[in-house]
């Protein structure tokens, strides 16, 4: 590349270049010589018609069908109060200040969560030294009021699976496929 005062620039750069030459990994993309416009119009039309005849479908018929997430999917979780040692590490590391420590009737520190703030990064779950959080893959929860998203210890220890909004829906599993991208298959035994 041409640089103003090129010689000096090249000199300076060559010091680095000699020590550790940069790999030549660049290639030039030629803008393709495109054929006649009429032909390309027909090609585009044919491509569209191909998908009209043999459609691929990426979307799932939500909320009738719901995707089954992998077990490590970061969904809602609950507190196992007996396991918790009240170290408040989860409170310290929570990036969105969604967790707050409160005292339970035994005057022990326990975390409570504000689901309205939670970003599901699972830092709290991962930093907990005793695995005091029970995790699920539920994420599509809805609340009527903001106050419902603020939990107390009792609510935080309740299993979110109990009020899973996608209970009646058909559970679908993703299978990757070369031609169709995804194939959704119903999960059996649910």
């Amino acid at each position: 590349m041409e640089v103003e005062g090129g010689d000096l620039g090249k000199n300076l750069g060559s010091i680095i270049e000699m020590a550790a030459p940069e790999k030549n990994r660049y290639y030039k993309v030629e803008i393709p010589k495109l054929g006649p416009a009429l032909l390309r119009n027909l090609e585009a039309l044919a491509t569209g018609a191909k998908y009209l005849v043999r459609p691929i479908r990426i979307t799932v018929d939500y909320p009738r069908q719901v995707l089954e997430q992998p077990p490590w999917y970061r969904g809602m979780f609950r507190l196992l109060e007996d396991v918790c040692i009240g170290c408040s590490l989860c409170d310290i590391i929570c990036p969105s200040d969604a967790i707050r420590m409160v005292l339970n009737p035994q005057k022990k520190k326990k975390p409570v969560i504000n689901w309205g703030r939670c970003i599901f990064c699972y830092y709290c779950v991962d930093i907990c030294p005793v695995e005091a959080f029970d995790t699920t893959t539920i994420h599509d929860m809805a609340y009527d009021r903001y106050e419902d998203m603020l939990t107390n210890i009792e609510e935080f220890t309740k299993d979110p699976r109990e009020r899973d909004p996608s209970k009646g829906a058909m559970r679908m599993k993703i299978r990757f496929d070369e031609r169709r991208g995804f194939i959704y298959e119903p999960v059996k035994g649910r």
């Binding site: 585009a44 491509t47 998908y51 009209l52 479908r57 990426i58």
Partner: protein
């Protein structure tokens, strides 16, 4: 259904011919193939467009309203929703033209139906042997109200959109008219009945393919189908002339394109696709009117489906590119079609008497 009733009334009450023609004419305009059919076809076409495009685009398309039949009632649901939404009139708008122009645009794009026959037996209310010219003349008036819409809204985006519309009208109406006229040259008539009759061997699109392509492209532009959806380009000028419209008014102005699509494809299917041919028409209401008109409607629906399918293929042209395309290629094509027609006629390949 209507026809026997009218006949019966005529017999019993002794209606004179004027009243009979008035009643049939009103039925023709309001029920079939007029307003009611237009609304039904427009709503179904809206659904078909979304469904076709969704198939190409890896998704389901409308499904929530009437799931059993694939969401086909979606268009009607939209229509109902639009009619119950609040209509907001901007304070700085020019109220009377703002409110009147969508209705007038629809009126002028529907009026040609009064001249267009869709069956060999029942004449349209306003029968004329110069119908083709009249129809083209009337429907060319509709875009003027789109320009008025943009001007009356007092919105910069609406203004830009209506200017675009005005520029595009000029550059695509002329090729449309020339290519339709070139068909009239071939048929030697401006009367729709004669036009259809003279396609008994070859439909017009084979007699003069240039005229068909030119007029189809011009129709795509006039009904703002892709790739000519320029005057209401959403990502550039919000909704063009319709930016300030809401509720039913917005529904009307958006439905306008589909109504125009219906009328134009009706004209094209008569002029290029042979109308109700191969049915010749026969006795009675069923054979004489309903069956031939259904043939016409199937033909025009096929044309409309091709037009709406293009949404899945194309983006939109830039204004200057579309104008250049119009003035060079489409106009060129239509002139070629006129020369082709003249050559056919004076070369003696087509002869009607």
């Amino acid at each position: 259904m209507m026809l026997p009733l009218v006949m019966l009334l005529k017999e019993i009450l002794g209606f004179n011919d004027t009243i009979y023609r008035t009643v049939v004419g009103l039925g023709y305009m309001i029920i079939y193939p007029g307003l009611l059919l237009v609304v039904v076809i427009a709503a179904l076409m809206l659904w078909a467009e979304r469904k076709i495009v969704a198939l190409v685009q890896l998704r389901y398309g409308p499904l929530w309203v009437s799931r059993r039949i694939g969401g086909a009632l979606q268009g009607f649901a939209d229509l109902i929703r639009f009619s119950f939404q609040e209509v907001i009139i901007p304070r700085r708008s020019d109220v009377i033209p703002f409110l009147l122009s969508p209705g007038l645009a629809i009126l002028f794009s529907m009026l040609p139906i009064a001249f267009i026959p869709i069956s060999p037996s029942i004449h349209p209310p306003l029968y004329s042997d110069l119908a083709l010219l009249v129809v083209i003349a009337i429907i060319s008036l509709a875009p003027i109200f789109i320009v008025i819409m943009g001007w009356a809204s007092d919105n910069k985006f609406a203004f830009v959109g209506s200017l675009r519309e005005a520029l595009l009208i000029v550059s695509y109406e002329i090729p449309l008219i020339i290519s339709i006229i070139s068909m009239a040259v071939i048929y030697g008539s401006l009367d729709f009945y004669e036009i259809v009759e003279r396609q008994y061997m070859l439909p017009g699109m084979i007699l003069n393919p240039f005229a068909f392509i030119a007029s189809f492209i011009a129709v795509l532009r006039t009904t703002s189908r892709f790739p000519f959806e320029i005057s209401e380009a959403e990502t550039e000028i919000v909704a063009g002339p319709y930016t300030e419209y809401s509720g039913l008014m917005f529904g009307l102005s958006m439905g306008l394109a589909y109504i125009k699509l219906y009328v134009y494809t009706l004209i094209l299917s008569l002029v290029f696709l042979g109308g109700w041919l191969p049915l010749q028409g026969g006795e009675g209401f069923l054979l004489g009117f309903l069956a031939p008109s259904l043939v016409v409607i199937i033909k025009l629906s096929l044309l409309s489906l091709v037009a709406v399918f293009l949404r899945a293929i194309y983006g939109r042209y830039r204004l200057d590119q579309a104008i250049r395309l119009g003035w060079i290629y489409v106009l060129g094509l239509s002139i070629v079609s006129l020369i082709w027609s003249l050559a056919l006629v004076y070369g003696g390949w087509v002869r009607w008497r």
